[in-house]
Every structure is written in structure tokens, then in C-alpha cells.
Amino acid sequence: MRFLASGRRHKAARPLLLLLSLFLVGAVYALVTPATSSSAEGVADAQLIAAGKNLFATNCASCHGLNAEGLAQQGAPNLTNVGAAAVDFQVRTGRMPMANPLVQAPRKENTFTEDEIAALAAYVASLGDGPAIPDESQYDPSSVSAEGVARGGDLFRTNCSACHNFKGAGGALPDGRVAPSLQGVDAKEIWEAMRTGPGQMPVFASGSIPDEDVQKMVAYLEQVNATPSAGLSLGGLGPVAEGFWAWVAGIGSLVLFATWIATRGPRA
């Protein structure tokens, strides 16, 4: 203590203290900031992004512009903040690149390889922020409990059935758009659709529907479509199909029987 007390007045005390505090600040800073990626990975990322930029220039820029800023005359949106998930979804489901200008890009066969999709996604992700491509743990429904599945059904009916129908058979929207059928759509694509809101579909962000709830909804959709129906399911389209069958199969066959009966008389 005495040493410290006496040393305070030493000529070198102030500069030394300054040095010491600078060192401390530097050390804390180094601890708090995340470790920067190793240079090797940085190079790989840069290569991926560059490959993506090239792919983008040849396949997408005609509509979305060379810097993905969007071209109004093509009706193609700005992609700087859509995120990797949006690109992965749009290209994986074959919606992009759009073949011809329609009100809504249809789902079709995807012609890109996994690597190319990853490159395109990395390029667009590098332009701004937006949802990243999900890990399997984010959408995989295998750990959902039986009760969770039922809850997923409730969530699905609250959030999705207005457009996609009660078991995801799809439905019509104004101006020639449709909410497509969700039967047979991958869990990953469902997650991505919810987080990026393709076309007319609203974005369901993780703040309102966390990943666990997405898993429950995916589990419900899978199970409800695997449950056997009580006879011909008529496409799960509801009462219109039932009315059609009542008239065609029901009244139709009964009228045929009536005609048959009316020609049967007692034999003389």
C-alpha cells in the first residue's frame, strides 16, 4: 500500500497508467468482439458470392437488374433485402427465373444444381440482410408431440387456411392469383415461404410464429394428409364437389333406376 501511495507521485506514473488502461481496453475489446473468420473461409465466401454474381447476371439480371435493384418495367422487385431464404425458395421451387411474365410465377421443375442455388443465395445475401437459409433443426417436425400436432392444426387454420384451404388443397385469390396446394411441399420450403412471403402471401416472421410453431404446422400438414379419408375425398375441395356428386352420381343413378322400374310391368 505504501509503495502505491508513494509511487503515485512518481514522474512516470501518469504515462504508465495511460498505457495500462489502453492495454486493458484493447484486451477487453478483443475478448468481446467475435473472432473474425479465418482468411481461408473468407476467400471461399468471396468465390461463392462471385460465382453467384455471375449466375445472377446471366439468369436474373434481365429482370432484376445487374445489381438486383429491380426493374420496374419488368415488374421484378428489388432483391437487396430479401435474404438467402427467398432466393433458395424461389429457385428451388422453380419459380425463378420466371419464364414469361405472368401475374404469378408458377411452381415448376428447378434446373439449377444445389451449388448454383447456394451461390445465387450467397450473392443476394451479401447485398443486404434478410432471412438466411434455415438449418434442418429449424423446420424438422420429427420432435413434435401429439398435442403439438393438434396445436399446429389450430395454427394452420388460423393463419393459412383462409388462402390455402383447410387441409392445404389450395384456393383462389383475386386477379388470377392462386394460393397453391401445399400437399407434398417440403418442410424447408414451408419454412422459407412463411419467412419470406412469396408473391401475395404475407410474411410470417419468427416474432409472431416461432420456429417450434412452424414445426407443429408442418407436422400437422404431413399427418392430416396421411390420414385416410372416409371414402373418396373429392379433392378436399368442400361442399361444391359434394353437391356435384349428389347430382351426378345420386340423382343421376336414381333417375336411371326410375326409368328402369317404370318399364317393368306385370307380365301378362
Binding site: 401429439a146 398435442e147 400436432v149 393438434a150 396445436r151 392444426g153 389450430d154 387454420r157 388460423t158 387456411s161 383462409a162 388462402c163 384451404n165 383447410f166 388443397a169 389450395g170 384456393g171 383462389a172 385469390l173 383475386p174 386477379d175 388470377g176 392462386v178 394460393a179 400437422y220 399427418q223 392430416v224 390420414t227 379419408s229 372416409a230 371414402g231 373418396l232 375425398s233 373429392l234 378436399g236 375441395l237 368442400g238 361442399p239 361444391v240 364437389a241 359434394e242 353437391g243 356435384f244 356428386w245 349428389a246 347430382w247 352420381a249 345420386g250 340423382i251 343413378s253 336414381l254 333417375v255 333406376f257 326410375a258 326409368t259 322400374i261 317404370a262 317393368r264 310391368g265 306385370p266
Partner: protein, 565 residues
């Protein structure tokens, strides 16, 4: 029309002259006599020999009757387990995908019937298919009555009873559809809630009256249950009995044919032949309904989930018979008036309350309007062939076309997704089609009727095509015609000619005169006896060319006997 008994049963003469029962040579012995002494079985047997004509279209009403019986049978089964309560419970039954989901007791008990009661799902599906067939059969039955003119005097009252049956049939079906309290039935109730509220002035009050407070409240399922299992079936039973009683009293109508007149009835006796046929037909209807219930899924409420006012699903539609109202609501422009802080929702009132009112008023009034236009006060027991009343037939088809367009519009979203067209395009198309298609249907139908009449006339005058091509000595080809049988000629010329009313002082006003001229207009005259005579000479010439010197009339008789074997 049945002749009233010459002596009224109250007449004292009746008692004096009736021989004592014991003396009557009753063929019924033992228990039958016992019953007869108490309820007059023998008299019933008199009715049981009533004659019914045979034609497939006379069986359509029976389909409705049998579906109603099926509805009663399956409905009783369902009432054993159904709980008409809106109290909230957590589901604890066997259907995993609903585990612990909060729902009303009504919905939970419907799931229980579907998954936990043996045969419950089958019975539910049969009940629902029977309901769809019930209304559909009533509709086609009504159409057959309309197009054959069977509603004319003396059967106007039975037509009115029929219109009553159809309208409360819709109520019955709607009430049943609402009971399970699933997402679609709740959405349907929401729709009706909107209709009720759109009624000017009393709307809100009426909503509170029906739902016991604001929608959805806690009462409506219990109330609909009462309507569905007691009130409306009671009314239906009463009206069906009256309908059948009047049918027996008036006797059935029949098609014109030799020996069938406006004053008689030809056919098989009710017992035993008609009973056998009708009984057999009951089992066919029951069988088909069971097959549909077993093979085709209907109203899968477990997929819709319990009703929750925050939810709605694509493809929310009512059962088919409410589809025309749904369609009208879907295509009407958004008309609303705001007046002194109140909203007048014409966009809901006109297509909903207005269209239903219009349909049933028009149906109910039609027989009287037609009778007024034609001034026809005579009784009709012979049916019209639709072609012989071209304006009525065309009106009917135009009405069906309008109904059909509204109906299609009710499924506009399904049409859009299934046929890959734009929902807006379907809607705009329907807005026009609802007005244009009936007019086209009218014109086309009338043309078809007239050309069919012309074909009939040709057939009577020139006979049927014999399929024999004759080459004349100078090389020309012609097809010879074989005269038709006298019976057929009778059937084809039997129908009365429509005549316009002649001005008759103040009794026939100008509008009425014009309408009657329009109704009778454009008819192909039935050949007169002289024309038939003249044509027969002509055709015997043809027969001569054919080489035979037999008079045509004889060959026609041979043809007839040949055909009747």
C-alpha cells in the same frame, strides 16, 4: 277429379241403409276383421286399389319421399349421441389431430359419433347424402310438375304445398349443416347472421332475437337443434301427409294416349303392383344412399376443425341448395347506402333475402299467373308435353338457367382453381351471364319446342321414315314413309290449342290480352281431321309407287300389331 260421395257421411240416410257389419260378406277374416271393425280396414282397401300411372318422371317425388324416410331413420340414430351445447370442452377423444383442442360440446360429440361410435361415421355420411338428395329430388320433382303443367287446376294447392316443402326443406338442411359447429357450419351461420342484419330497420334487433345476443352467442346451436329435429320435421311430416292426401284425392295425372282422357286414369292398382314397385324403389334409393355414405366422404368436420370466429378457409361453401344465394352474394357489386348514420347493405339484402324471396314468390304465384293469362278455368288431368306449351317451357328453362348461373357463381373460386382461370374473370362473366344466359335459354328452348311440334305434325301427316330408299323409274331417289299407328296419332294430336283471350269488355284488360297473345303465340297447329285425311291419300299414292296396292290404313294397322308384340 274425384267425385264427391253422393251421400255425405253425416246424412242420416247413411246409417239406416248401411247393412249390419256381420251381414257383410267380408273376405277378411280373423285379425283382419278385428282391425276392420275398429279402423275400417276394408274401406282403406278401397283406397289401396287406387290406380297409379307409370312413368319414370312420376317416381321423382318418391325419391324425395324415401330420402325423407332415410333422414328420419338416420337422424334418430344421430340424436342418441349428439349434444346440442356450445359449452367449451377440451377434446379428449380418439382423433389424435384434435387432441386437447378447445371446442364446443356439439363439435366434440360430432367427432365422437364419427370416431368413437360404431357405425357412426357411416350413419352421419348417409344422413348428409340423404339430405342432399332430398332437396335435389324435390327440385327435379318440382321441375317435372312444372314442365308438364301438372300444377294446373285442380292441383294448385298441392303445388303450393310443394313450394312450402321445398322452402322448409332448405331451412331443415341449413339447420342440420349448422349443428356440428365446425368451421364451415360456423362460417355459414355467420353468413346468415349477415343476411339477418341486412334486413332494413329490424336487422340488428332480429339478430339479437335469433342468436340471443350478438353472434355467435351461446344459444344458437340449441335453438337450431330444436328447429332441426322437432319443428321442421313436424312441419314436413304434416305437409307431406297433406301432399299425399291431395294426390290420392285428385288422383295422379297421366300422359295423353288412347283411352286416357281428362276424366279417367289408367295405370296399375296401388296394391299389389304399385306397392311392389314403390317398395322396390325404396330399397333402391336406400341402397344408393348407403353406397354413397360408405364410399364418398361428405362433410369431413374433423378436417375443418371447430368453429372459431378468427378462422376461415378457402372453399367455404354451403351445401348445394344454398349455393345460388352464395353465388348472388359473391357477384353483386358492393352497393351500400349511408343514411343518417345508418348503413343499408343492399349488397347483402338484395341477393340474400331478396333473391330467395323472389324465387319462392315466383314459384308460388306461377300457376295463378298462368291461369290468369290464359283465362283457363277447366280441370286438367292430362299432362302437357313440354313442347306443346313452348312459352311455359322456355320460361322454365330460362329460370333454371338463371338459377344455374347464380349457382355456378357460388363456386367461382373452385372454378377458378380447377380450370385455371382468373377469379375476377369468372365473377365478371357471371355478372353478365346471370342476365344474358336466361334470355338465350328462352329463345333456344322456344325454337326447339316449335321444331319438335313441327316434327310431330309431320309425323302425323306423313308417317314415320321407313328407312327404305326408293328409286323411281326415272332415277330419282325418295324415302317412303310408313304411316304411324292411330294410337300414336291420337297421342300426338290430343293436346288443346292455346288460344289468345279475345277482348271481352272490361273483363280482359289490355295487358292481360297482350300477355295471353304472347303466351299462345307461335304455335304449330295440330293437323285437322281433313288434313290427315288428305295426307293419307297422298301417302297411299306413295304406297302405290312402292308397288303394293294395299290401302295405307291397313298397312298402318299391321305395323301397329307388329310393334305391340
Amino acid at each position: 277429379m274425384a267425385k264427391p260421395a253422393e251421400l255425405s257421411p253425416e246424412s242420416p240416410a247413411m246409417e239406416v241403409r248401411t247393412p249390419p257389419k256381420e251381414a257383410a260378406p267380408s273376405k277378411l277374416a280373423g285379425p283382419a276383421t278385428w282391425v276392420d271393425d275398429r279402423i275400417g280396414l276394408a274401406k282403406l282397401m278401397g283406397n289401396i286399389r287406387k290406380v297409379f300411372p307409370d312413368h319414370w318422371s312420376f317416381l321423382l317425388g318418391e325419391i324425395a319421399l324415401y330420402s325423407f324416410v332415410i333422414l328420419l331413420l338416420t337422424g334418430v340414430f344421430l340424436t342418441i349421441w349428439f349434444k346440442p351445447s356450445m359449452a367449451e370442452v377440451e377434446y379428449a377423444g380418439t382423433y389424435e389431430l384434435m387432441r386437447n383442442v378447445p371446442m364446443s360440446e356439439a363439435f366434440a360429440s360430432t367427432l365422437a359419433i364419427s370416431f368413437d361410435v360404431r357405425g357412426g361415421l357411416l350413419v352421419r355420411q348417409i344422413h348428409h347424402w340423404a339430405a342432399m338428395l332430398f332437396v335435389a329430388a324435390m327440385t327435379v320433382h318440382m321441375l317435372r310438375v312444372f314442365f308438364t303443367g301438372a300444377y294446373r287446376k285442380p292441383r294448385e294447392l298441392n303445388w303450393l304445398i310443394g313450394v312450402g316443402l321445398l322452402s322448409i326443406g332448405l331451412v331443415e338442411g341449413f339447420a342440420g349443416y349448422s349443428l356440428p359447429d365446425d368451421l364451415l357450419s360456423g362460417t355459414g351461420l355467420r353468413f346468415v347472421d349477415g343476411l339477418v342484419r341486412s334486413i332494413p330497420l329490424i336487422g340488428t334487433w332480429a339478430e339479437f332475437f335469433v342468436f340471443g345476443g350478438e353472434f355467435p352467442g351461446e344459444l344458437v346451436i340449441a335453438r337450431l337443434y330444436m328447429v332441426h329435429i322437432l319443428l321442421v320435421p313436424g312441419l314436413l311430416l304434416g305437409l307431406i301427409s297433406a301432399h299425399m292426401a291431395l294426390l290420392v284425392y285428385h288422383k295422379h295425372t297421366h300422359w295423353p294416349a288412347p283411352g286416357r282422357t281428362n276424366h279417367n286414369i289408367q295405370g296399375y292398382p296401388f296394391f299389389p303392383i304399385y306397392v311392389a314397385k314403390a317398395g322396390g324403389f325404396f330399397f333402391i334409393v336406400f341402397g344408393i344412399t348407403i353406397l354413397m355414405g360408405a364410399l364418398i366422404q361428405i362433410n369431413p368436420v374433423w378436417l375443418f376443425g371447430p368453429y372459431n370466429p378468427a378462422q376461415v378457409t378457402a372453399g367455404s361453401q354451403p351445401d348445394w341448395y344454398m349455393g345460388f344465394v352464395e353465388g348472388a352474394i359473391r357477384i353483386i357489386p358492393n352497393w351500400e347506402t349511408h343514411l343518417l348514420g345508418t348503413t343499408w347493405s343492399w349488397n347483402i339484402f338484395l341477393p340474400g333475402v331478396g333473391l330467395m324471396g323472389l324465387l319462392f314468390t315466383a314459384l308460388g304465384a306461377y300457376p295463378f299467373i298462368e291461369a290468369w293469362i290464359t283465362g283457363d278455368k277447366s280441370e286438367h288431368h292430362l299432362l302437357d308435353r313440354p313442347r306443346n306449351a313452348p312459352n311455359r317451357t322456355a320460361l322454365g328453362v330460362a329460370g333454371m338457367a338463371a338459377y344455374g348461373m347464380f349457382w355456378l357463381a357460388g363456386g367461382n373460386d373452385i372454378i377458378a382453381t380447377q380450370f385455371h382461370v382468373s377469379l375476377n374473370a369468372v365473377t365478371y362473366f357471371m355478372r353478365v351471364a346471370v342476365f344474358v344466359v336466361p334470355v338465350l335459354a328462352f329463345i333456344v328452348t322456344k325454337r326447339i319446342c316449335l321444331s319438335l311440334q313441327r316434327a310431330d305434325r309431320d309425323r302425323v301427316l306423313h308417317g314415320s321414315e321407313s328407312n327404305i330408299i326408293v328409286r323411281s323409274p326415272d332415277g330419282g331417289y325418295s324415302e317412303s314413309h310408313a304411316p304411324i299407328s292411330q294410337g300414336e296419332a291420337y297421342s300426338l294430336t290430343r293436346h288443346p290449342q292455346l288460344e289468345a283471350l279475345t277482348p271481352n269488355g272490361e273483363k280482359v284488360g289490355r295487358t292481360r290480352q297482350r300477355l295471353s297473345r304472347w303466351f299462345a303465340d307461335g304455335q304449330v297447329p295440330t293437323p285437322t281431321a281433313e288434313e290427315i285425311e288428305a295426307a293419307a291419300h297422298h301417302s297411299s299414292d306413295v304406297a302405290a309407287i312402292e308397288g303394293g296396292d294395299t290401302p295405307a290404313i291397313e298397312s298402318s294397322e299391321t305395323a301397329e300389331t307388329g310393334a305391340s308384340h
